[in-house]
């Protein structure tokens, strides 16, 4: 892995964290309409995938994958516009919060129905390959969502068609309030891979550099020998399901254990240890990111909301 990639990971994660911290504050200040859902503590996997992927690749992020959006080029201002329902945001205010994407960046806008997007990104990759493009798909999914029929149908279909697709299961141990033990009975979610006849890979989900190093060769190989793989990353949701949720059902020791392995801390330490950044450099980077987020937020607050007269625009294409 080259140095630029390491710094890319750090910058993406810092930006993600700064945006989400801001969203959380705005929510508790009552300045956000609707709920706030973050990937606090889960920034590593999205950043790593963004680091590995190629321009023509396609992505189906879930609600905890802001870092993937950032890594694929979503601007902080677009992010705030989305959360504020602004006219020029990624969904023009038609959708809110995490339900956005940008196909120019290869990123599908998720629907809420868990599992439903895996087949979509898989179909997108099928299309691009039919069109002669080299394209690999990346689908993110939670531990809870592996229980959906959609997860199963999509992974099986992709496996059978040998779609180059990496399905990244982010096991953060809870689905809303429901712990793994009430969600599945296999020991690890990667145990499901064999049932689809695909390779399964289990990794530490809080180490972006480790993830990038481990997955880059896998993805390179997928491009040569198209097939579907299942990756389980171990991580932790460090906040509630949304900011309305005090997550008192999560044992505090569990949180503490993962706090000690916060993806930003882990990445910062590796970069410092490898001499890729020094403390003043880090401070400067963090300040720069904070400033960009400040400016983006302020700009987005000034951006106009959609006009009610546009309500019916675009229900159908070509009209």
């Amino acid at each position: 892995m080259n140095d630029a990639t390491s710094l890319f990971l750090l910058r993406v994660m810092l930006t993600t964290r700064a945006i989400e911290e801001r969203l959380i504050r705005l929510y508790h200040q009552g300045r956000i309409f609707g709920g706030v859902y973050t990937g606090f503590g889960q920034e590593a996997s999205g950043a790593a995938v963004a680091a590995i992927a190629a321009p023509n690749d396609l992505f189906a992020p879930c609600i905890r994958n802001l870092s993937l959006h950032i890594g694929r080029g979503a601007s902080p201002r677009d992010l705030f516009r989305q959360w504020l329902g602004r006219a020029d945001g990624p969904t023009g205010g038609r959708d809110g919060n995490v339900h956005f994407g940008n196909l120019d960046h290869g990123v599908y806008a998720m629907i809420s129905h868990l599992g439903a997007m895996i087949s979509v990104v898989s179909g997108g990759v099928m299309a691009r390959r039919y069109q002669g493009m080299d394209s690999v798909g990346f689908a993110f999914i939670g531990d809870g969502a592996t229980s959906t029929g959609d997860f199963h149908e999509a992974v099986n279909f992709a496996a059978v068609r040998e779609v180059p697709l990496m399905v990244v299961v982010e096991n953060n141990h809870y689905a809303y309030s429901t712990p793994n033990a009430s969600q599945f009975r296999c020991r690890n979610l990667v145990d499901k891979a064999a049932g689809y006849g695909i390779e399964g890979i289990a990794l530490d989900g809080n180490d972006a550099i480790g993830l990038t190093e481990a997955l880059a060769p896998v993805v390179a190989d997928l491009r040569e020998k198209p097939r579907t793989v299942l990756v389980e990353v171990d991580t932790m949701r460090m906040r509630g399901h949304g900011e309305h949720d005090d997550f008192s059902y999560v044992p505090r020791e569990l949180l503490a254990a993962y706090a000690a392995r916060d993806p930003l801390t882990v990445c910062r330490e590796i970069l410092l240890a490898r001499g890729l950044i020094d403390p003043p450099g880090l401070e400067a980077l963090e300040a720069e990111v904070q400033q960009a987020v400040d400016e983006a937020q302020q700009a987005a607050f000034r951006d106009p909301p959609p006009s009610p007269s546009t309500l019916l625009k675009g229900v159908y294409a070509g009209e």
């Binding site: 329902g85 038609r94 809303y176 909301p305 546009t310």
Partner: protein, 327 residues
């Protein structure tokens, strides 16, 4: 008779609690309904009160949840299943339509199950947490559909739904959960599934509606009375399948002008059914064409200004009523 003020949400809670206390055959399950009390906290304390055999969390699998409810109901239990949002029931329409809805017809085995489905918008939920799907459910043979607008009705109708020997979709309007309060007696009054509620009397026109729009319609009618002296009747359909055709016809006979209001989509919505019924059976009673005021055929938008334009409200009901009254 002691009287308490309760919310719509509390009405649902009390109905469920009462039924579970009285009848050990009632079982509750769904995503996060256990110690967490469900996404909307309707079932807080139920796990502790009724135990893990009667109250349990499920994995995220709407189809298997519905299937399990069908299996339980077929054995004489009365399962109550909470889907976290009605929107997600669309992943398992076949279990309702084809399995629950046909079992008694095909085999004579009754399926007394209740599906609690929080629905409706008005709070920035966006396209996937705001849907009104009653038209789908009402189109399904063998399924009953209940949709209360008041705390007292929510309480009584949930009891009725659970004891009904058929699969019942119990729609809960999320906007009403904490917005609507009502004084109710201690004892739960029985309500028959299939009976509408005349919420406001009047003889100049009638608004046929349900869910959150009932309260918007009442407000519109009050404005109109104050501003222009019109007396507008408001009917809360309250149960949508079967629906109360007698009350519909009687109120049309009494008013001769009909406005139908709902926050679900227009084309093939429940409003179409009501309008068709009126057109077929009360044609001779009409002094003006029946009129529908509904959400447009458009995903539920997130941005507050867009959702306001999307969702009917008191002001737009009033406007439509004025046009109707001046026809």
């Amino acid at each position: 008779m002691p009287v308490n003020e309760i919310t719509y949400l509390e009405g649902i809670r009390q109905g469920l609690q009462h039924t579970m206390q009285e009848d050990p055959d009632v079982i509750l399950f769904g995503q996060d309904v256990g110690s967490f009390g469900g996404a909307f906290k309707v079932t807080t304390g139920f796990l502790e009160a009724f135990g893990a055999a009667r109250v349990f969390n499920t994995p995220i699998c709407e189809s298997a949840m519905l299937g399990a409810a069908i299996g339980m109901a077929s054995q004489g239990l009365k399962p109550v299943l909470e889907v976290q949002f009605a929107d997600f029931a669309t992943t398992a329409i076949h279990q309702l339509l084809n399995n629950a809805g046909t079992m008694h017809y095909r085999t004579g085995v009754a399926v007394p199950m209740t599906v609690r489905a929080p629905c409706g918008g008005g709070f920035g939920g966006g396209p996937f947490h705001s849907e009104e799907l009653e038209a789908f459910f009402c189109h399904m043979p063998g399924i009953k559909v209940v949709y209360p607008a008041f705390p007292s009705d929510a309480r009584s109708l949930l009891v009725a739904a659970i004891h009904d020997p058929n699969p019942v979709v119990f729609l809960e309007n999320k906007y009403l959960y904490r917005h609507i309060k009502e004084l109710v007696p201690e004892a739960i009054a029985p309500i028959r599934i299939g009976s509408a509620r005349v919420c406001r009397s009047g003889q100049d026109a009638v608004v046929l509606t349900y869910g959150a729009m009932v309260h918007e319609a009442i407000q519109a009618a009050e404005h109109l009375a104050a501003d222009m002296g019109y007396r507008v009747m408001v009917v809360d359909m309250r149960t949508l399948k079967p629906y109360d055709t007698d009350t519909v016809i009687a109120t049309v006979a009494a008013t001769n002008r009909v406005l139908i209001v709902h926050e679900g989509w227009h084309t093939c919505g429940f409003g179409a059914e009501l309008a068709a019924l009126v057109a077929e059976q009360a044609f001779h009673l009409l002094d003006a064409p029946v009129r529908r005021l509904t959400a447009p055929d458009c995903p539920v938008p997130f941005a507050p200004d867009l959702e306001k334009a999307y969702r009917p409200n008191a002001a737009r009901i009033e406007e439509a009523l004025v046009e109707l009254l001046e026809y």
